[in-house]
């Protein structure tokens, strides 16, 4: 019974913690511009992240190493610095975008500009990390995040033709706005395969002291949790395809987003949207801020752990304090959270080879995983998706920035 409960809780927290500003915005833009045609990158990203989350849990359970620990040990400190600078800069932008997402939810609820809300939201997250425990942060926000299931209700309320939509799971070439199409593919892949998600998962598994007995649970949670999570992203896309696409409306401003739930569900839908956006971004902010601190602490060999009292892990506590402060200042400076979210997701896709390549090497290293090393299927899927995301990112990001 305990195992079933653990599995159920793991799946529920994965579902509730899947959505964040990047996945909401990219899915909404995709549905508004290309109807159901861009469901396939969500499915592809979801498949890739299932493998990556399972791998990160397996690494932690078998070797008792977090991903960062293992990469630093395997490739040395110099490599770690190069890796950390590139990935942490992008993660910092993602963190800022998530704080922006919370602030936008509050702006749309109160009318007060998002820049003003960036300060109290960042402070609230900081207090939660400072005083909270890992379990409370991971499970609490993810359970609240189940409110994002309202997007699935909306899809049924809108009477979406699910059979027609399913055709979007097969990749097809665009008939219009070609460069925009590929840029959205990149952003969707970046939003789905966010490295902090599985880095955080491995740190959590080490904090929870997983052993090889946890491997079956890890596999089930990764597969079902991430599959259901991707389904919610698909629901956002389908809702946008039903509401915006027939009217020829593209999603260019965050103020358009609440219509995704307000049109099918009325005022309750409007409130559910704001709650979904606020809670999902809060969960992502907590995870990203903690992961940035984990990276620094694990990389430099500091004492770390969310369950440790701040005075026993002072450098770890300073790390999340400073990263939250910098991310908050980016939003206070007035950078549009929607544009920041899209750009940070695309940049995430561009840095995936650096963020995931060394991890794959570790996952194939007998010294760390013994007989639990990666098989050919996991390696092939992850390498293929990362390569696709990287090539598309290199081509489309400059085009998007130059306005092509």
């Amino acid at each position: 019974v305990k195992k079933i409960f653990e599995i159920a809780l793991g799946i529920v927290t994965s579902v509730g913690g899947f959505l964040e500003i990047g996945s909401i915005v990219t899915a909404a833009q995709a549905g508004a511009l290309f109807r159901f045609q861009l469901l396939w990158p969500i499915a592809l990203g979801g498949l890739c992240v299932i493998f990556l989350v399972e791998m990160s849990g397996r690494l932690a359970a078998v070797s008792r190493h977090t991903i960062i620990d293992a990469m630093r040990e395997r490739f040395g400190f110099r490599f770690f610095v190069l890796f950390a600078v590139a990935t942490m800069l992008v993660m910092l932008l993602v963190l800022a975008a998530e704080i922006g997402g919370m602030a936008v939810a509050l702006e749309l609820a109160t009318g007060l500009g998002f820049r003003w809300w960036a300060i109290p939201t960042a402070l609230m997250v900081w207090l939660l990390i400072w005083g909270g425990t890992f379990g409370m942060i991971e499970k609490g926000t993810s359970l609240l995040g189940l409110v994002t299931l309202s997007f699935i209700v909306a899809v049924f309320k809108l009477g979406a033709p699910l059979g027609t939509a399913a055709a979007g799971l097969i990749p097809t070439l665009p008939t219009h706005d070609t460069s925009r199409y590929w840029f959205i593919v990149v952003s969707i892949l970046g939003a789905s395969i966010t490295p902090y998600l599985f880095y955080f998962y491995s740190s959590g598994a080490v904090e929870d002291k997983w052993t090889t007995d946890d491997l079956p649970i890890n596999r089930i949670v990764a597969t079902l949790g991430m599959s259901f999570g991707s389904t919610i992203s698909m629901a956002v896309l389908i809702a946008a395809a039903m509401i915006f696409q027939p009217q020829g409306i593209s999603v260019d401003h965050y103020a358009q987003l609440p219509l995704l739930l307000a049109v099918p569900l009325g005022k309750i839908g409007f409130s559910l949207f704001l709650f979904s956006l606020g809670i999902s971004c809060m969960g992502a902010t907590l995870e990203a801020a903690l992961e940035l601190a984990y990276m620094l602490a694990q990389g430099f060999g500091w004492n770390w752990g969310e369950d440790e009292r701040p005075r026993r892990a002072t450098r770890f506590a300073t790390a999340y304090t400073v990263t939250l402060l910098i991310a908050m200042l980016i939003i206070v400076a007035g950078i549009n959270p929607l544009r920041l979210a899209i750009l940070s997701m695309a940049l995430t896709a561009a840095t995936l080879p650096l963020a995931i390549g060394p991890f794959l090497v570790v996952m194939n290293d007998e010294q760390y995983l013994g007989r639990h090393r990666n098989g050919p299927i996991g390696n092939t899927v992850v390498i293929a998706v990362i390569a696709l995301a990287f090539v598309l990112a290199v081509v489309t990001i400059p085009l998007e920035i130059l306005g092509g």
Partner: protein
């Protein structure tokens, strides 16, 4: 001279194609904001969104179109096209502003009455 002439012709054709594509994108942007305005007013009228949010969303339409108008002079359109797009963008922004302003007025019965119907539905 032939290669120079060919290159110049190809460049002219490429620029014209780029201009046509840009014009199409700009017209789509304008249409998108006009229909967003209509949708917000319609959802407000049927009680699906609060007034405060509607006002913010209509302000957003105005903000975006103001930014859009600022970008038009840098486009390689002829003067007539440039003027036509700016006038159209200004009209939609004005309608959004007017609808937003009417939300503060107690006399308002339906902001939709103030908007021209664009696609035959809504107001």
């Amino acid at each position: 001279m032939t290669p120079v002439f060919l290159t110049a012709s190809l460049l002219t054709l490429a620029c014209a194609a780029d201009r046509t594509q840009q014009l199409r994108a700009d017209r789509m942007t304008l249409g998108s904001w006009e229909r967003t305005t209509t949708m917000i007013v319609r959802e407000l009228d049927r009680g699906a969104i609060p007034r405060r949010y509607a006002a913010r969303a209509l302000d957003a339409v105005d903000e975006e179109l103001t930014g859009f108008i600022r970008e038009i002079p840098s486009r390689s359109y002829d003067a007539g096209t440039r003027r036509e797009i700016i006038v159209e963008a200004a009209r939609i922004a004005r309608e959004a502003r007017r609808a937003a302003a009417s939300l503060d007025s107690p006399a308002r019965t339906s902001a939709g009455d103030m908007l021209p119907s664009t696609s035959g539905e809504g107001t």
